[in-house]
Symmetry: none
Subunit: 195 residues, 4 copies
DNA sequence: CATGAATGAGTATTCATTCAT
DNA sequence: CATGAATGAATACTCATTCAT
């Protein structure tokens, strides 16, 4: 299994750095190889092609997202709190790794439709976590039972994504983590039953 | 003024079609020229370069968005209704022009950072309309006075954008317009004062 | 006869200015037309094509050279003096018209082989004047009777041309006219009989 | 060091041939690559761009000129003889390589100002050799002590260059080497003290 | 005579991928 | 396993010239 070999991760980490620092269209395979400290040809011993590096990179990083999210929501009982810690976790990971934030919010979106569709597949696992929180919230009576879960999840993800993208576009110049609570407030209102 | 000459609009409309049908990176200038029924060189009598075609295209189309939105919100008195017709208008325009939807949601995002920044400038005018509705709603007592307008606007735009992108990625296979009312409900809850 | 119409000379003078100021490869027909104050298409009522402008320009200006040279050498009796006034005249015309100097010494030489051969044809009339002075000098006993007139003429023209080109390349920053006498001295030695 | 690799020289030699046979403006990179027996992209492993091929070509060939000239003048003691062997060497190299002659005298002069300035830099080393011969000749009492070395060098180089250019323009149809002695005679007279 | 909008052929350079060593 | 030299397809833009008005 190539994924466990050290050079596999080495190349993926190099790709994040190179894309963040040079932009998607200036992230040539040769630059990634140089950053990873291997020869160009070596890349192709671990990845099928350039596209495969990008998909793999997203899969690995998104895996961390999902793992961490599962951890933090496991510690909370109310759905409202689960939403909050999920948002906090989302913001926290991207705050801690500005390179990753730039890559996922700006650079990777410049890839072509084919790659973006595959990236979306990977994303689905994360979105299912949101769905689960929503279903549970409805069951628990915390959220409006008439909620359209698919639409609400799109609202939640669209909002978080837009907030993060704007933060990245503004060069991370304000404190993203501070927005978790107010965002959670706004989102929560959209989920709760209306009197 | 070149913008009023027929070939100007002819070329922009050709660009929308060619990009939608071939993808951003396969939309060569020669293809656009052919689709527009002019010679390659003629493009450059109306546009500085390829980038200029894209920016101009976005500016023209977004102009229609803003114009139409101003029209429909002018006919409504309550802020809640204004939000609704704005969303309906947004969905309606993209439903009526699948090519345009594909181009704005998927293809144009593959452009380089420079182009995307210029596109963002154009977008800001549209976002200001949302801000205006929100401020007015707070004044009218319809919306929560403690609302963070900037965050709320990001929630609204992020939600709409995510909904539309998902619809485009699913090949427009369901009725986007039908989502306007439920989305409006969800968004509205986020804006209204909580008891 | 088009050559006597005002726009003919107007276009040629415009060409000298545009080429001098923009360089040969940046002297587009449209620039020349603009400088001449006529429409692009008008150029083609007076010249067959762009090449024809250049050849005609060289022919007109070289005509002035020859005319003036004939005037000044007519006023001198000794061949040595004739050589001197010819050189002085050559330098004087180019000193008085820096644009022309730049065009003939640097820019026009960037034209292709075909144009340069045609320019050489025009130049031949001027070179024949040099030959005439040399033959006369031999007849008069001023110059070495064993002189190879063709080679000597090439020496004279090559020297003058190199001197002027170097002066233009140094941005006309020293007094070209002051070099006429010393150059004449050097050239003269090459022509006179050796003891 | 790329300059010592075989493909470096291979490409330069291909460039001389392609430019000589097709003319400067018809010497596409792909033609040069084909002539050199390499892929288009390979060119760019050895040269920064097309301009770099031309400058390098001139530098390499002019290097041979200077090297050979230094060799032949080292074998002579009198300055007069040094001038002669320098001229003979100059003519001999170009006689032996008609392609090179065409390229240096006609085609390379069509390049833009930037390239020509860089070529001139390379040329300066050759011109310094002429200066050295002249200074030595004055010291040895062979040449007129009142000689203006700069002007004289321009006379010598201008003469040689004009002779060669005329020979190339006449399709090398006469024996250039045969002109070395008479030219040397003419030049020599210009250098020697006059009685 | 004069105009100027329209034409369309032509080319340097990049970079993902391969394969002989 | 690892290398890195070599490959070659693919594309925006310019500008001399024309011709309908």
């Amino acid at each position: 299994m190539k994924r466990n070999k050290p050079k596999y991760k080495q190349i993926i980490d190099a790709a994040v750095i190179v894309i963040a620092e040079n932009g998607y269209h200036q992230a040539q395979v040769s630059k990634i190889a140089k950053q990873a400290g291997v020869a160009d040809g070596t890349i192709y011993l671990y990845f099928k092609n350039k596209e495969d590096i990008l998909i793999s990179m997203f899969r690995e990083k998104m895996g961390l997202f999902i793992e961490k999210t599962e951890e933090v929501i496991a510690g909370k009982s109310s759905s409202s709190e689960k939403l909050l810690v999920m948002i906090e976790n989302h913001f926290s990971i991207l705050c801690d790794d500005h390179h990753l934030a730039t890559v996922t919010q700006l650079e990777l979106r410049q890839s072509n439709k084919e790659i973006r569709l595959k990236i979306n597949d990977v994303l689905k696992k994360y979105l299912k976590l949101v769905d689960m929180i929503l279903y549970e919230g409805i069951d628990r009576g915390e959220f409006d039972p008439s909620l359209d879960v698919r639409l609400t999840r799109q609202m939640i993800f669209g909002t978080i994504d837009e907030i993060v993208t704007t933060w990245v576009m503004n060069d991370h110049k304000y404190e993203l983590a501070a927005l978790a609570k107010p965002i959670h407030q706004i989102i929560l209102r959209g989920c709760q039953a209306h009197q």
